[in-house]
């Protein structure tokens, strides 16, 4: 394996792993559901894409075999399915918000939390928020 191929593989590996980590940081840290959906669907797909490309180069420039195409099958499949899952998840979330229920109340209290600049405590304060709402309605 030549030095050029080895350094390309190494760079792609670190870059891909960084993007995967970025996607997961977005998933863990962003404030509400649709932003949390947006993080991993883009960044993680790009990260896994870079890793699979690194793998393809690594096994194509190895000692014994020819060009390795298994990775491209996985890559193709992931690139097709990522938008489909993102679309379905967004649809399911909107459906839950529109049809009321606990998902709706949590989403609303989450928005209020964000507006006040307090993030991450949505579920703990959700009962209080809904109690205040119903108290306002009774008045």
């Amino acid at each position: 394996m030549s030095t050029v191929a080895e350094s390309t593989v190494a760079a792609l590996l670190v870059l891909g792993a960084l993007f995967v980590l970025l996607g997961s940081i977005g998933l863990a840290r962003l404030p509400d559901f649709l932003t949390r959906l947006h993080g991993p669907t883009k960044a993680t797909t790009l990260g896994v894409g870079a890793l699979l490309l690194a793998s393809a180069i690594f096994f194509s420039t190895g000692a014994n075999t020819g060009i390795s195409l298994h990775e491209l099958a996985i890559l193709f499949f992931l690139f097709i399915t990522a938008p489909v899952t993102a679309h379905l998840l967004a649809k399911a979330a909107l459906h839950r918000q529109a049809s009321g229920g606990e998902g709706d109340q949590r989403a609303r209290s989450g928005d209020q939390q964000v507006a006040r600049g307090e993030r991450g405590e949505c579920e703990r304060e959700a009962p209080q928020a809904s109690a205040t709402l119903s108290a306002q309605r009774e008045q």
Binding site: E71, V84, L88
Partner: protein, 89 residues
């Protein structure tokens, strides 16, 4: 150089798995947990590919492809259940 890069990538992807697990356990809504599960699956594919490079073995591609297929079907089934209350109507 390649060994160092593989080790760095292992650490980064391990951290990504931990963050996805945090979101999976924490919620707060069902859809959040589904996204976390999907991301966990994609991170697992990344880890498998990395294992393949680390051990110079091509046996991991089939596993990665299977994990990708099952993750996609699982996510679609869960979304469908949330949307319609049923998976196969």
């Amino acid at each position: 150089m390649l060994n160092t890069a593989v080790e760095i990538a292992f650490v980064l992807i391990g951290a990504a798995l931990a963050l996805s697990l945090y979101r999976l356990l924490r919620g707060p809504d069902t859809t959040d947990r589904i996204v976390a599960l999907d991301t966990l699956g994609i991170n697992a594919i990344a880890l498998l590919v990395l294992f393949g490079i680390d051990q110079a073995s091509t046996a991991y591609f089939e596993i990665a492809l299977l994990v990708a297929l099952l993750g996609f079907v699982a996510t679609v089934a869960l979304c469908k259940f949330l949307l319609r209350g049923d998976i196969i109507e």
